[in-house]
Amino acid sequence: MPLSTEGPVIEASHLKVVRGGTTVLPDLSFSVAAGSVTGLLGPSGSGKSTLIRAIVGVQHIAGGEINVLGGPAGRPEVRGRVGYVTQDASVYEDLTVRENLRYFQRIAGSPRDAVEEVIEVVGLADFGNRVVGRLSGGQRSRVSLAAALVGKPDVLVLDEPTVGLDPVLRVELWSTFHRLAESGVTLMVSSHVMDEADECQRLLLMRDGHLVADTTPTGLRDSTGEADLGRAFLRLITHEEAA
């Protein structure tokens, strides 16, 4: 199947996921357009990570469909086009930053210069030859991000990439995400912190495996009358429960 550049980049229809006998995602439908930053927000345990695993093709699906770049998620042709940043820094602690990135670059089959390029992008130029295990937590998660970027993905899916990062680093990361989106990369970023919602063009709000709202930061404020997005989300939930 050819990789489509038109139409939605990520598209779920009636997606159902069951993990260990529990239905985590009962019936989820949405679509994401190219070159955008979509925030996947919701409390811990709402099914964000499961959805992300389904998008990158490492999650068993019980029903419905999840398509990426015009075909089923996780099919061989699309795996090299999708970058995945897991919640914990999933890189080799006993290798240097450069060795890690070189390995993921070779596997993805992207150009060799991509290694030096992404080291710059994530701001680790001075740490290229440092063993990952000796880096700080924030630096490690940037190595993990770089390991996904080094494959030059068209779609970048990040599971809670800013957890545990200091505010300065968080701002830097978000500006990196925006730059990537401007260059045409489609990003989906999960977070349980609502104050990051303002950074996204599009918001998917999740709770207990359901999509509570598919909106924008402005849309969320307007529909709830709350200026603070965290409070807006809470209002949305209580409103839903009352209805």
């Binding site: 069951v18 999650q59 699906i61 996780g74 995945y84 914990d88 999933s90 060795e99 596997i107």
Partner: protein, 244 residues
């Protein structure tokens, strides 16, 4: 399967090993120390040493590779790197063959040093050295394949390490090294027939004690290759691209 995926995995695993000096030292030095110990244990009984040392030397890579692979794969599973790899274009077979190549280099180094000591300095007879080294290589690969399979059933490194006494030690006890299999109680001998280590020991023992290589060695080798293929298929089946 792609050569770049395989080679880059092999290089990556070797870089990890190279940085872990202590593990490399243990892999390379320990077998030679043990065989030297054995030599002095049987001081004045060179014939006994000559009979025991070569098969022991050939079995050691099985143990080392079993334990190194099961811990390395467990780390790959628990650190999230396996999940990341499964989301990339790499094929599972590339990962397995890459690991086999890297650990194969380690096994080669180990057997090379231990053989030099055992045959060169401790005076054990080096009969049919090429066939002997081939069997040692097979034993290393088998240990690796079984370690890969075992790693799927361990949730922690503590458990992975315990698989050694649980699954490997019984095989060593009944393989014929301690008591000839013909002298065992019937059910023990039957049990030893289904263990891969029995065939490894049998082939190694025959090769190192006979003037000509008996046909039985070929049959043992075929059984071992069968075990190896089965273990690799089972091991590959435990590497799931999609999980719950």
């Amino acid at each position: 399967m792609s050569t770049s995926g395989t080679l880059s995995t092999a290089l990556r695993v070797l870089s990890q090993l190279r940085r872990d000096h202590r593990t490399v030292a243990l892999i390379v030095v320990v077998p030679s120390v043990l065989l030297t110990l054995l030599r002095f244990l049987f001081d004045g009984q060179q014939a006994t040493f000559d009979r025991i040392a070569p098969p022991m030397l050939g079995l050691i890579p099985f143990f080392t590779m079993f334990i190194v692979t099961s811990v390395a794969m467990l780390r790959e599973r628990t650190s999230g790197t396996l999940e990341r790899l499964m989301s990339t274009p790499i094929a599972k077979i590339d990962l397995i063959v890459g690991y086999a190549m890297a650990f194969g280099v380690a096994a080669l180094l180990q057997v090379g040093v231990a053989s030099t000591i055992t045959f060169g300095f401790l005076g054990a007879p080096s009969n049919h050295l090429v066939v002997f080294l081939g069997l040692a290589g097979l034993s290393a690969l088998l240990g690796m394949a079984l370690g890969l399979f075992a790693s799927a059933f361990a949730n922690s490194e503590f458990q992975a390490v315990q698989f050694m006494p649980a699954f490997v030690l019984p095989q060593l006890l009944v393989c014929g090294l301690f008591v000839p299999r013909a002298l065992m109680v019937g059910w023990l001998e039957a049990l030893s027939n289904v263990f891969p280590l029995t065939y490894t020991y049998d082939a190694l023992e025959l090769v190192s004690t006979r003037q000509t290589v008996p046909g039985q060695v070929g049959r043992d080798a075929i059984v071992l290759v069968g075990f190896l293929v089965a273990a690799l298929i089972l091991g590959a089946a435990t590497l799931r691209r999609r999980t719950d």
